[in-house]
Symmetry: C2
Subunit: 364 residues, 2 copies
């Protein structure tokens, strides 16, 4: 039988699986949307019909994350990588320094870009504990007094690391939440800026959300391209330039789907259940391993290795034959990685664990 | 009868109508693509399946525009407005000046952004001829000897102006072709950089094409955000950051559709026929007028005014009731605007002219 949407579970790290109900709705109205005789992607971003879509998406996101009124919600282009430049260029002001907490690949990528604009004060938060990768408690993190802000990445998709606490600082906290956003409850009021590429828990690649506290809108550098300027985007309701309308619309459908599931609190419970199912199986097995300390294991991205890496390609082939796809780990880490974002149902993780069990029985 | 895709002709200036065959194909494979049991937007941009889509789209665009080998084709984010900053930041090098030809709204928007990075030498190309808006011949344009490049916008969507010739200069020519690209034959080898937001003649909003001559890749400013750096994008095959994969895929389908139509040469003939039909009708009428000199009339965007502007809203309402939608002109110009990009069939323009005739008979 050819794979189809009912038999395939897609563990891609991003672009990632979207809720099936969302995809089916978008397909049904793809050519003719809302009785207009045209698709949503063929109408002006300034039409009243699209502005309604845009406003609804923003309101739903505000509801889901309980975003306070003194935060702007911006729909940007360029993904999180554009934000790696946008953050220092929007926030440094007269300061020449910023603190970056380093706990993995994406934090380091943000540091590399920030270095082009300021003196980066790096706090190395990764450590080892019981022979496993761990992150030092945030209460220990040191933030330079001259820093304009503190940047961290609470979920490292490649390393499979999650940070559950926050820097203790009076500086604005900036978080790359590309794979954290909407996966668990957060207190937005503790942050200065939250940004997130959509292609994990929000929607398709090509749109990026920035949630920016009002008082941080006036610090932009003279050399910041206008399309990345938080203040300009805020003043123009993210329509300074033509926004990626279809990606915005589809993100809005995901927000509605998430509300229908019961919101972030409920999906967090599902996510914890999914992650526990997988980590518990790995922990009791001597055939598979995960190298991250339990306190810092990612809810969203579960890297795991076979004790015998010679079996890696067989594992991937047999998994794919069962409809369990995109499990290959990042080259920097090797082995496997199961990304289990909001749109991955519990049954998908159960199917993966079942397969891992059978595979272990066959090859152990 | 409710409007549907068979009865509606959408004259939106952008995001604009896409070829119906493309939309139907994308709808059919929206949830399950190429037997993968998942959609094209849910797979990794680094998967072999997506890389095939990306490479095919680039090759088809190269074929359609006959792009020489010494040009890179980049798929970017941020639209043409991001390029307004990217162009000076990529091309100035040690120079402090650039020449911008001003013939309308978009050229002026590019100038405004460029001013933040260099001394802008402006050549005012707009003039009046026989009481109509016209553009001075390119042979008369003056280019400052110290300029790093000359920028112009060959089609001004708002003003309905088209420039058919090229600056006479040894400086690299940079063109904002957002609404020109693929509408008529061009000689890419005459340009340094061509860029175009997709949402007119290419695909959905959220992707932007930049065609960059090899020798211009080494001039980037230190402050240029990496996501806008032509050299980095070229070296990473436009996958330095996660690209807007669905928009890229859909653009590729448009390129294939265009090849199936016979390519740019053939679509240009259709476009000339469409434009002539509309302009000829306007010119013989004393009820409608277009204020642009025939030599500089846009092939793609036809603004027109009713001699009696009190009838504007009635015109728009009655047109919409006939399925002729998105005809309202830009606020800066007023009146109507019919955008007749590649995806607008001849029948759409014929239907518009028929309606204009009936409306004129009714209200003249």
């Amino acid at each position: 039988m050819e794979p189809n949407a009912d038999t395939v579970f897609n563990f891609s790290a991003g672009p990632a699986v979207l809720p099936k109900a969302v995809m089916q709705k978008a397909q049904a109205e793809f050519v003719e949307w809302h009785g207009l005789g045209t698709s949503v992607m063929e109408i002006s971003h300034r039409s009243k019909e699209f502005i309604e879509v845009a406003n609804q998406a923003e309101q739903d996101l505000r509801d889901l994350l309980n975003i306070p009124d003194n935060y702007k919600v911006l729909f940007c282009q360029g993904g999180a990588r554009a934000q790696f430049a946008a953050v220092p260029l929007n926030l440094l002001g007269a300061a020449k320094k910023a603190t970056y907490i380093d706990a993995g690949y994406w934090a380091e990528s943000a540091i590399e870009e920030a270095r082009r604009y300021c003196d980066v004060d790096i706090y190395e938060a990764k450590t080892e504990c019981d022979g496993l990768v761990a992150v030092k408690p945030a209460s220990e993190w040191q933030v330079n007094a001259e820093s304009a802000y503190v940047h961290f990445c609470p979920n490292e998709t490649i390393d499979g690391i999650e940070i559950n606490d926050l820097p203790v600082t009076d500086k604005p906290i900036v978080a790359d939440m590309s794979s954290t956003i909407l996966s668990r409850e957060i207190d937005v009021s503790k942050y200065g800026v939250i940004y997130a590429g959509a292609q994990k828990n929000v929607g398709p690649a090509g749109i990026c959300i920035a949630i920016v506290r009002d008082d941080l809108l006036d610090l932009a550098s003279d050399v910041l391209p206008s399309v990345l300027n938080y203040k300009i985007l805020a003043e123009k309701d993210s329509m300074f330039n033509t926004p990626p309308t279809f990606a915005w619309y589809l993100s809005g459908l995901v927000f509605q789907w998430l509300k229908a599931q019961g919101g972030v609190k409920v999906i967090e419970q599902v996510n914890r259940k999914k992650a526990a199912l997988l980590y518990d199986y790995i922990d009791q097995s001597s055939f598979y391993k995960n190298k991250v300390h339990p306190d810092n294991r990612s809810l969203m991205n579960v890297p795991f290795q076979l004790e015998n890496p010679d079996l890696d390609s067989t594992f991937l082939e047999e998994a794919a034959a069962q409809g369990l796809v995109a499990l290959k780990g990042h080259w920097a880490v090797g082995g496997m990685r199961a990304s289990i974002y909001n749109a991955m149902p519990l049954e998908g993780v159960q199917a993966l664990v079942n397969f891992m069990k059978t595979f272990e029985e066959k090859y152990a």
